[in-house]
């Protein structure tokens, strides 16, 4: 710890891939890495939103003394003398499998194909259920609608493998103000096609039902 009197000036010194780095208090490992332009891939992380930790692409291996742990860098703050590895074998194993499964989960997404190719994943062993699917249920759209816009027009429905992005009761939601934030934060562009299922047919959205 720095002996400086102002806690804002205290920095946390640790290493990422052997490079000494310093984090400001409150920074996560990911934010520190971005500050030093060290690349860590992400899908669900967005600077405007609270980290959600669902995509797990940003995992890094953090070693402290003899103990090593794979953890998401978007959620974990660094500690003094931590050794962070952004592409160790364990990290790459998680990333490659997640990307291979995403190729089957959202086969229509060009962004995911590109990201997977960067990690040498070009084909998938898993069954494709919907060749048109692009949504990976990362939750960015739900979070932006909830945290930034504040209208909660979007939500996740069902659970587990059946989890889908939908509106409450699966009807167009009058709470939607049509701001398009969800579309702009979507990492794969999946929401572009679904916006009308959220806000409904614009020509019919007049009168009493149009609350906002």
């Amino acid at each position: 710890m720095s002996s400086s009197e102002n806690p804002q000036n205290q920095v946390i010194s640790f290493t990422i891939d052997g490079q000494p780095v310093q984090a400001r208090p409150g920074w996560t490992i990911l934010e520190t890495a971005r500050h030093y332009r060290i690349h860590i891939p992400t899908l669900c992380f967005h600077p405007a939103l609270k980290p959600w930790g669902s995509c797990r692409l940003c995992v890094v291996e953090a070693r402290y003394g003899k103990r090593g742990k794979v953890m998401p860098s978007c959620l974990n703050p660094p500690i003094e003398e931590l050794e962070v590895f952004t592409d160790s074998e364990r990290v790459l194993n998680v990333r490659r499998w997640v990307l291979e499964m995403l190729l089957a989960g959202c086969p229509a997404s060009r962004e995911i194909k590109k990201l997977a190719a960067a990690y040498g994943v070009t084909s998938t062993r898993f069954a494709v259920t919907d060749p048109e699917e692009e949504c990976l249920r990362c939750g960015r759209c739900v979070a932006v609608c909830n945290e930034v816009v504040g209208v909660q027009a979007l939500t996740f429905g069902s659970r587990g493998v059946k989890k889908v992005l939908e509106t409450p009761y699966r009807v167009p939601n009058n709470a939607c103000i049509g701001c398009g934030c969800c579309v702009s934060v979507c990492p794969t562009g999946a929401l572009q096609k679904r916006l009308d299922t959220v806000r409904g047919d614009l020509s019919r959205r007049t009168g009493h039902g149009y609350a906002h």
Binding site: G53, R56, P72, R90
Partner: protein
């Protein structure tokens, strides 16, 4: 009920109750645990009630019929214990009740045919039965003895005695130190030191003043596990007392019991127990005049397995979707409504009164050095004696399965033990003797380094499994590890909350591999791929569900790779379970033409005249195995 205003009144109440009790009054204890209820224990209990009340029995004292919690010996249910004669009757049917009343309660004789018998020996009292003899009952000692709906019965058995002791003799810090020295570790499966958790929570609350909450985790969702259920149904006061002591130690005024909705009896008994404890002044304002306020509230889980994970419980209690969030912050830092919160398993809470009563050192001397105390297991699967057992930690796996479990029924041979439910691993039974305990010995110690695998947190973790909540499924050579791993993965795939990608997509992907294997598809390289995918889930998933979900697969690959290879390379299921890889046929040498199989077959694909050889049409057969089950001469064989 008169409200108790100080601890002396509790003692007076107990002494009065004990004096009023007639030690010679016959007591009939009918087990109403889940196993016995399923085979009609409620009818047995009703039969006793009406037999005793309806007629003028020629006895001096009217016998008392008590509906109690689980007696433990589930395979022999319905169970009836009689005191003070100390008799244990097994498999009691409502028709037998009249005979029990006339012979035992009136004449004082024994109904021999209802006693438990094994290898030609008849056992009169429960304590002599090998299943019970090996056990050490501490948490279970009142379960099956007291009436859970009557607080007076619990008080006579010693309930709330430890709470009174803590309130008058110990400071809150003393209580925490006692629990810490006792070495109690979380019984939900993680094995986190309870006293340390409490200490951290209190420290966090001191830095950040405000309310602290405690939660009992009664969301017991593992298939084949019913330890917490038995505690909540059979001795709800133990949980309440444990929580009240914890609340006193940590300065808590509100606690929550998070119980799954699938346990309606547990909820009813807990609600009744809380109401009675409140009426007696053992919960609520100014408990026992000690100036300490604590109350409890029951919250029902809506049926999500993942809500047994502590951050998901908090989300559920706050009214959010029951999805885990990443730790840190840990609940002891920021839990319920952002306040420090302690979440302990029901069984952990039930341990606390015993530690306070007998002292930390007594508890630390029980069990193994780093896993102190006793643990309740639900012993199920291919063992003769299935049921609920409480044993000291560190008991050898062999003793647990063979001596308490009574060995494998029929012709089978032990193959493996699955511990810890869907998050646990499959341990081959051979490992019980060849296990080398390198953890506690220096590596140069050679001579007697083959020691028995002991059942405690650390030894279990070394085998790649976990202790878990206490489910213990015994498998014999008719159980297929691929099929069992597939079963657990299917369960977890259903129960995954779907928040993080490794768990949501990975469980589906692992299941795809296993489905292929069970159909004989795939290549040997796929086993390595599955193993690597499993490791990605362990490293990458958000919560404990995903991080432990691959355990059944990883351990079965580690110990039973041959069996996987047999499926993939030879297209053969050695255990004869995986339907796509087996055929049923009728052995012409043995078949006596009784036609039973032909009558049972749902596909009507077995042909043959009476007293003549039967044959199965393989094209129509769906491999349900019904013919094998009904054949009286075991002529149906599986290839």
């Amino acid at each position: 009920m008169q409200r108790l205003t100080n601890t002396a009144e509790l003692k007076v109440l107990r002494d009065n109750l004990l004096q009023a009790q007639d030690p010679h009054r016959p007591i009939v204890r009918v087990c109403r645990g889940p196993g016995c209820l399923a085979v009609g224990a409620d009818k047995v209990s009703q039969a006793f009630q009406s037999a005793i009340q309806s007629q003028n029995l020629e006895v001096k004292v009217q016998p008392l019929v008590k509906d109690t919690g689980c007696h433990g010996f589930c395979s022999q249910g319905p169970l009836v214990n009689l005191a003070p004669a100390n008799l244990c009757y097994v498999r009691v049917k409502p028709e037998d009740v009249e005979e029990i009343v006339q012979t035992t309660l009136v004449k004082g004789a024994v109904v021999e045919r209802l006693l438990y018998s094994d290898n030609g020996t008849r056992y009169k009292s429960a304590a002599d039965i090998p299943f019970y003899r090996m056990q050490q009952k501490i948490i279970l000692q009142n379960i099956g003895v007291i009436d859970p709906l009557d607080i007076h019965d619990a008080i006579m058995a010693g309930a709330y005695h430890s709470l009174a002791k803590a309130l008058i003799e110990m400071s809150p810090d003393d209580v925490i130190r006692t629990v810490e020295i006792s070495g109690l570790r979380g019984r939900g499966g993680g094995g986190f030191p309870t006293g340390y958790k409490w200490k951290r929570t209190v420290e966090n609350a001191r830095e950040n003043p405000g309310p602290v909450y405690i939660i009992a985790n009664g969301e017991e969702g593992d298939p084949g596990a019913f330890m917490d259920r038995a505690i909540m149904e059979g001795d709800p006061h133990a949980v309440i007392e444990g929580m009240a002591i914890g609340a006193y130690a940590m300065g808590v005024n509100q606690g929550f019991l998070y119980v799954r909705h699938e346990y309606p009896i547990a909820i009813r008994h807990l609600a009744a127990a809380i109401a009675q404890a409140r009426a007696l002044g053992l919960l609520g304002k100014n408990i026992l005049g000690a100036g300490f306020d604590f109350d409890l509230q029951i919250n029902r889980g809506a049926g999500a397995y993942v809500c047994g994970e502590e951050t998901a419980i908090i989300a559920s209690l706050e009214g959010r979707v029951g999805e885990p969030v990443t730790r840190p912050p840990y609940p002891s830092q920021q839990g319920l409504w952002g306040r420090p919160t302690v979440i302990n398993n029901v069984e952990t809470w039930a341990n606390v009164p015993h530690i306070i009563d007998h002292g930390a050192q007594w508890y630390a001397d029980l069990g193994a050095p780093r896993s102190t105390g006793t643990k309740i297991f639900s012993l199920v699967g291919k063992v003769k004696n299935t049921g609920l057992v409480e044993v000291p930690m560190g008991i050898s796996l062999g003793a647990l399965v063979e001596e308490i479990g009574g060995g494998v029924p029929g012709q089978g041979r032990f193959k493996a033990v699955q511990t810890g439910g869907p998050s646990g691993g499959i341990i081959p039974y051979e490992l019980k003797e060849e296990f080398t305990d390198y953890h506690f010995h220096p590596p140069d110690v050679k001579p007697a380094d083959k020691m028995e695998l002991s059942v405690d947190f650390d030894s279990m973790a070394q085998t790649g499994s976990i202790m878990g909540g206490g489910g213990m499924i015994v498998m014999d050579d008719h159980d297929c590890v691929v099929d069992l791993a597939r079963y657990f993965l299917r369960f977890l795939e259903e129960e995954s909350c779907g928040k993080c990608l490794p768990c949501r997509l990975g469980l589906k992907g692992m299941l795809e591999f296993l489905n292929n294997f069970s159909q004989g598809k795939g290549a040997p390289a796929d086993i390595d791929a599955l193993e690597s995918l499993g490791k990605a889930l362990v490293d990458g998933s958000l919560c404990g569900l995903g991080r432990t979900a691959p355990n059944p697969v990883l351990t079965s690959i580690r110990y039973f790779r041959d069996e996987y290879l047999a499926h993939i390379v030879d297209h053969h299921c050695p255990a004869g379970v995986c339907r796509d890889l087996i055929t049923y046929r009728i052995d012409p040498e043995i078949c006596n033409g009784c036609t039973l199989c032909a009558q049972t077959c749902p596909q009507v694909c077995i042909t043959g005249a009476n007293q003549q050889l039967h044959t199965i049409d393989q094209d129509a057969c769906i491999r349900c195995g019904a013919c094998m089950d009904v054949c009286p001469v075991d002529a149906v064989v599986v290839d």
